[in-house]
């Protein structure tokens, strides 16, 4: 596996090029010079809540997966993010309109490691967190890795791009908690079956901690590698504050503490001490 070094981020004043509501999510397209150019799947960006011109009462950053990087409107590398409004920061983001400006730092963190050989891969994502999997799938296909996708969500409104998924992946499994689309249930319920059928060598996952934990366990049971993209509450998102500890085991077998933002967000599933991780059991 290659390419898991940290991203080299920039901090810029970005601008909203487009905002579109799809289901429960807002899809924002941002002009953020330098961010898209440096992007690798699994990296994220961080935004400040509030206009760059105003004094800000909220000092913590808000992390968002980089969904897609595309040339658009004369810009070489616009950045797409998917926002689910759940609190003041994400609601502020959802309220932005074309032309509004915001402070953006990115790409941040270590991306998904890509296999050197054309191995069989399974990509697992729940809700908006499936965002980084689509560009990952493209890169994997460029390397002739067969891609199987598992997409989960509470309901159809929170299911990301199932249609687009069918274009990039060999097989797609959809699971929703309320059964509004695909099978009714949890991602964890279908993992064994999917991994077995795909003959998975590597499993990539992004989503809430319990999903990642289930993926790590299932991968281990199938003798596959897992690459889990963690979401932990972040404050600086840049590695400066040590506020996002993830208990891990080093290559040397010694228990250590990693920073979710700077040493992650993507970590090998077998390296995370899931039982010691806050929020690991939902």
């Amino acid at each position: 596996m290659t390419g898991s070094g940290p991203a080299s981020p920039v901090h810029v004043t970005g601008e909203v090029l487009a905002s579109k509501r799809i289901g429960a999510f807002w899809h924002l397209t941002l002009v953020a010079p330098g961010v898209g150019e440096r992007f690798r799947p699994g990296t994220f960006l961080a935004v400040s809540v509030g206009s760059p011109d105003e004094g800000r009462t909220r000092l913590g950053r808000r992390a968002l997966w980089i969904h897609q990087v595309r040339p658009l409107g004369g810009y070489a590398a616009t950045v797409q993010v998917v926002v689910e409004p759940v609190g003041p920061g994400t609601r502020w983001l959802a309220g932005l309109e074309r032309g509004d400006r915001l402070e953006v730092t990115g790409p941040l963190g270590r991306p998904f490691a890509l296999p050197k050989e054309p191995v069989s891969t399974v990509l697992v994502g729940e809700g908006y967190a499936a965002a980084p999997l689509f560009s990952l799938a493209e890169r994997l296909r460029e390397r002739d890795c067969p891609v199987t996708l598992v997409l989960g969500a509470p309901d159809e409104a929170r299911l990301l791009n199932a249609l687009e998924a069918r274009r990039t992946a060999r097989a797609v499994t959809v699971v929703t908690r309320d059964g509004s689309v695909g099978a009714r249930g949890e991602i964890a319920d279908v993992l064994d079956e999917v991994l077995r059928r795909a003959g998975a060598d590597v499993v990539y996952a992004a989503g809430p901690t319990p999903v990642l934990h289930a993926v790590a366990l299932a991968a281990e049971a199938h003798g596959a590698w897992s690459q889990t993209a963690l979401e932990q509450p972040l404050t600086c998102a840049t590695g400066l504050c040590h506020g996002c500890p993830v208990p891990v085991v080093g290559e040397d077998g010694v228990a250590r503490t990693a920073r979710a933002c700077a040493d992650g967000p993507v970590l090998r599933g077998d390296r995370v001490r899931w039982d010691d991780l806050a929020g690991a059991r939902s």
Binding site: S8, P9, V10, H11, S48, P52, D53, G55, R56, T57, R58, L59, G60, R61, E103, T105, Q232, P233, T235, C236, T238, G239, L240, C241, H242, G243, C244, P245, T257, A262, A278
Partner: protein
């Protein structure tokens, strides 16, 4: 040219302890060499894992933190972090705290013999030591004096000791005098203030919210002693820096603002550079 305790600094802008990561992360946003100095997170004799989450919380214009001072211990720091910082030609101020005066002396001994340490900053009032072994907190002036003396005694000439004081406006002048009498060659005013999270857990409060409180401590200390004073606490804008330099500080420390905008220090350095032609105001 900024001169602090005999040290010539490239800029009056110093990164505050615990807010610059290991240095590597910050270097992405501006050369460490251009900073006045890089202060490490507080280093202890033994390594510390740090406290439970949530370690930080947003408050109105501030950040609450109870990190528990995670760090690799002095040996880990000297082996892995310091060499990299020196390679970047950063001026490295090492922040230290300890469980006892003996430990503090031991820390100073090891740092004093390591080549490249610019200065040692004694963290006299960690507001967020977390569940791991309690660190000393200098409550009374005599404790400030003892801690500073323990470090000063062990450091070679040319490696000054700076005392980072607890920002209590009513008592800070006494503490400043005690530190100076015990050999502190510079003072840092503007440690995080003792605060609580909504669940009552002890934490430190930092950021623009506390700026006016740190400023008051600065005026008290400047009125009490004659050594150079570094002003920390709530610094985020060029105006904040100018206010503090105008009152008599020789340099400023930037902490929480970096967590909100990692380019803050680099932008302040640039804006304050006397050779700069234009002066943009970072927000």
């Amino acid at each position: 040219m900024t001169v602090l305790a005999g040290l010539r600094l490239a800029s009056p802008v110093v990164v505050a302890a615990g807010c610059g990561g290991t240095g590597r992360e910050l270097a992405a946003y501006g050369a460490l060499e251009a900073l006045g100095a890089f202060t490490t997170r507080t280093i202890t004799l033994d390594s510390r894992r740090g406290g439970p989450v949530p370690r930080l919380l947003e408050t109105p214009s501030g950040l609450l933190h109870a990190t528990g001072l995670p760090n690799p211990g002095v040996d880990g720091f000297l082996a892995t972090e310091l060499p990299w910082l020196l390679q970047q030609r950063a001026r490295v101020v090492v922040s230290v705290a300890a469980r006892s005066l003996g430990e503090l002396a031991e820390l100073a001994r090891r740092l004093g013999t390591a080549p490249g340490v610019t200065a040692v900053e004694v963290n006299l009032s960690p507001p967020d030591t977390g569940p791991e072994p309690e660190l000393m907190m200098a409550r009374e002036p005599f404790q400030v004096g003892a801690a500073v003396a323990a470090v000063e005694r062990e450091l070679p000439r040319g490696v000054p000791v700076l005392a980072k004081l607890r920002p209590d406006a009513v008592r800070v002048a006494e503490a400043a005098r005690a530190a100076v009498e015990s050999g502190a060659q510079g003072l840092v005013v503007g440690q995080a203030l003792p605060a609580a999270m909504p669940d009552g857990r002890a934490a430190g409060l930092s950021g623009p919210a506390v700026g006016p409180l740190a400023l008051r401590c600065l005026t008290e200390v400047l009125g009490a002693v004659d050594v150079p004073v570094v002003a920390g606490g709530g610094v985020a804008t060029v105006a904040d820096v100018r206010t503090r330099l105008a009152l008599g500080a020789v340099a400023v420390q930037v902490g929480a603002a970096l967590l909100h905008d990692p380019t803050t220090a680099a932008r302040l350095v640039a804006a304050l550079d006397p050779d700069a032609t234009s002066e943009e105001t970072p927000s």
